[in-house]
């Protein structure tokens, strides 16, 4: 029987990790993620989970220890944010390259300088090409649900890739919500103990992490590319199985009011919640707007996005991280590339918002929708890049 608990995003993730019976957690504190490691430490110190908690001396060592642990066949979790994720950067590529199904909670936060503890997506976007499966949750419930699914996706023998589950710093990490949690037994039946394919078992010696020169490196990376493609099918399967268990339907893309929409906002994470509320409000005024939120950012769900966008005429793509000097920011670049690939002539403009935790208000979103509607009508994009709420 499911129960309702009042949990912050951090606590929801920690609770899910507990129910997933992890073996090793290696993590280092950083705002706004710290509570995840504190709560998990409490579980360990109260004997509520079997896990070894490695209080590492840095995030670099956190991910290094996770890689080592994962190679033994253990179930492994870590959590971080911002500078911590940046410090891990080198290890992120190694975790995916060595095919370690580690799950990581990220409470997204801005990157220094200037130092800022509030939420934006600079941290994960800075590592978006690291070969991890990347998921963005809209609220604490989604964070809880995705963590449980993440282990199943990551550890699937067809995938064997690490997964990051992202929650907006403070907005989700620190806000308490009602979260429907599963019984431990239900989680266990959905997610049995990890069955590793190959491990460093000393009785069957193997060499892991050998030097690969130009004669082999590319093939090994190609396998990784294919695994990420394969993850597509696995994610779908896991989503359906989880739906059977919980009644909650997850997918690559979450779409709201898109059936007959003329204009839409595409964004990640918690902003989608506000955007949906604003869309509902505009709909009541007869304006045909909708919201598309990729749950899964990597692998990028092109087909599902195209399906979700339907016959929309104009799109405002919201980015909460800056790709300095690039023609568009990350999410928008991916959307435009997808539209190009599918031969879709949808007008697109990019909104950079929320850097360093700057709020995006319902009025901001309303203005963005109205701009998009105007473009849907005229077919003319006057400004390809808007900066939302910044004093120039």
């Amino acid at each position: 029987m499911a129960r309702l608990m009042g949990l912050t995003g951090n606590e929801a993730i920690a609770y899910a990790v507990k129910q997933c019976n992890v073996d090793v957690v290696a993590a280092y504190p950083i705002t706004p993620q710290t509570i995840m490691v504190e709560v998990i430490s409490e579980y360990v110190h109260n004997g509520e989970i079997n896990a070894e908690f490695i209080c590492v001396e840095s995030e670099h060592s956190a991910m290094s220890a996770c890689v080592g642990a994962s190679l033994t066949g253990a179930r492994v979790f870590t959590a971080t944010a911002s500078q911590g994720l940046a410090l891990m950067h080198e290890m992120l590529y190694i975790a995916s390259g060595l095919r370690c199904p580690i799950v990581m909670g990220v409470a997204n936060r801005a990157l220094s300088a200037p130092i800022n503890i509030h939420g934006d997506h600079s941290d994960m976007m800075g590592s978006r090409d690291c070969g991890w499966i990347q998921i963005y949750a809209e609220n604490a419930q989604e964070a809880y649900d995705w963590i449980i699914q993440a282990f199943k996706i990551a550890e699937d023998p067809r995938v064997l890739l690490p997964v990051s589950v992202n929650i907006d710093g403070f907005i989700l990490s620190h806000s308490m919500e009602g979260v429907s949690v599963l019984d431990d037994e239900d989680v266990l039946s959905f997610l049995p103990p990890r069955k590793p394919v190959i491990t460093v078992d000393p009785d069957k010696p193997i060499t892991v992490g050998a030097l690969c020169l130009p004669d082999y490196y590319f093939e090994i990376k190609f396998q990784q590319i294919q695994a990420l493609k394969e993850a597509y099918n696995v994610i779908r399967e896991v989503n359906r199985e989880y739906e059977k268990l919980t009644g909650r339907r997850y997918d690559f893309v979450d779409s709201y009011a898109m059936d007959d929409a003329d204009a839409a906002i595409v964004c990640l994470g918690s902003t989608a919640g506000t955007a949906k509320a604003v869309a509902r409000w505009l709909r009541s005024e007869g304006k045909k707007v909708g919201v598309v939120k990729p749950w899964v950012y990597r692998p990028f769900p092109e087909e599902e996005l195209i399906k979700a966008l339907g016959d929309v005429k104009a799109l405002a793509v919201l980015d909460k991280a800056c790709s300095f000097g690039a023609p568009f920011n990350a999410l928008c670049s991916d959307i435009i590339a997808t539209l190009y690939r599918y031969g879709k002539d949808i007008k697109v403009f990019n909104c950079l918002y929320g850097l360093g935790g700057r709020d995006i208000t319902p009025n901001d979103l309303k203005a963005i929708f109205n701009d998009a509607l105007e473009i849907a009508k005229t077919g003319i994009v006057k400004e390809y890049m808007k900066f939302i709420g910044v004093r120039e």
Binding site: A26, A51, E52, V56, G68, I94, P202, V208, L211
Partner: protein, 307 residues
């Protein structure tokens, strides 16, 4: 002390690797494998041993071996050790596994010192071996915190004004022992029985242990490749490389050197010191000699020896 006929015949570090002829590190790896006592996983930091022994799809290792990166061998070992602990508790694993982290001086003294310190402080049950060839050899002989005073490397060249490395070597064992670990020791491959005994001792310790072993390097120290063991012996006999161990804080000198050979015998065999023999750099030679004397006095005093 182990005797020759006690050693297993089986080679767990096999030939076919691409270390240079006469490479001390290769000899050390082979000896290390002779000291194993059961299921073992080796974690190897980036460096000469790693790149030369596992060129895909080949490997020289007949034990499970993991390379993750340059600076984190101790952290990776932490994760492996912790994972087996947790899996044993839940009944998914039943064996004891020895974890040995192996890194060069760069991967230990410099970029890896933080991960090493963290792992020692946390008390993971693993053995850390630093093979010290006194420079970053894999990247082409750059100075490290382990490079001795005066030695020429590509980033501390024997210039007209600055003749080699101005700084002195770090006290690695002092740093490790200061963590309160149960066992730390230095060694030289010329004294193979002492080294192998120490590796076994380090494995038997419950908790972290560190071994710092001198590793001759024909390419980087620029010596004759047939003289590696001779140089490793001279390092000890000139008091350049004191061989001692620290057990629960207690220092013990393992190889006494009552009548040291002149340091220059050791230095002269290595081109990296050649410039020090120019008359204008005489004072540098003296500075290195002073460091050797002071270090020897300090270590022997800690060991309660009188020289």
């Amino acid at each position: 002390m182990v005797r020759l006929h006690d050693l297993p015949v089986e080679e767990l570090f096999t030939s076919g690797h691409r270390l240079c002829a006469g490479c001390g590190a290769g000899i050390i790896m082979r000896m290390t494998m002779k000291a194993l006592r059961g299921p073992t996983i080796v974690v190897n930091a980036t460096g000469c041993v790693e790149v030369s022994s596992t060129i895909y799809p080949y490997t020289s290792w007949k034990v499970s071996w993991v390379h993750v990166a340059f600076e984190n061998a101790a952290a990776v070992a932490s994760g492996i050790e912790a994972a087996y602990k947790a899996m044993r508790r839940r009944g998914a694993w039943d064996k004891h596994v020895d974890v040995i982290a192996i890194a060069g001086d760069g991967g230990t003294f410099d970029i890896g010192i933080q991960a090493l310190s963290g792992a020692l402080e946390r008390g993971h049950d693993f053995l850390y071996i630093c093979y010290d060839n006194e420079a970053y050899m894999n990247t082409g002989i750059q100075r490290s915190g382990a490079t001795p005073h005066g030695a020429a490397t590509t980033t501390s060249p024997a210039g007209k004004k600055i003749p080699g490395k101005p700084e002195f070597k770090k006290d690695l064992i002092g740093i490790c022992a200061a963590h309160g670990i149960e066992y730390a020791a230095t060694a030289s491959p010329a004294y193979w029985s002492d080294y192998i005994t120490k590796v076994r001792k380090g494995l038997e310790v419950n908790g972290p242990a560190v071994i710092h072993v001198f590793s001759p390097c024909p390419l980087g120290m620029r010596h004759d490749s047939s003289k590696s063991i001779e140089i490793a012996r001279l390092a000890v006999q000139t008091r350049y490389w004191p061989v001692y161990e620290v057990e629960r804080g207690k220092y013990k000198l393992n190889i006494k050197v009552p009548q040291p050979k002149p340091l220059i015998e050791f230095l002269k065999m290595q081109e990296r010191f050649r410039h020090l023999f120019q008359p204008e750099f005489q004072h540098e030679l003296e500075a290195l000699q002073r460091w050797v004397d002071d270090n020897w006095r300090r270590i022997t005093a800690l060991c309660g020896e009188t020289t």
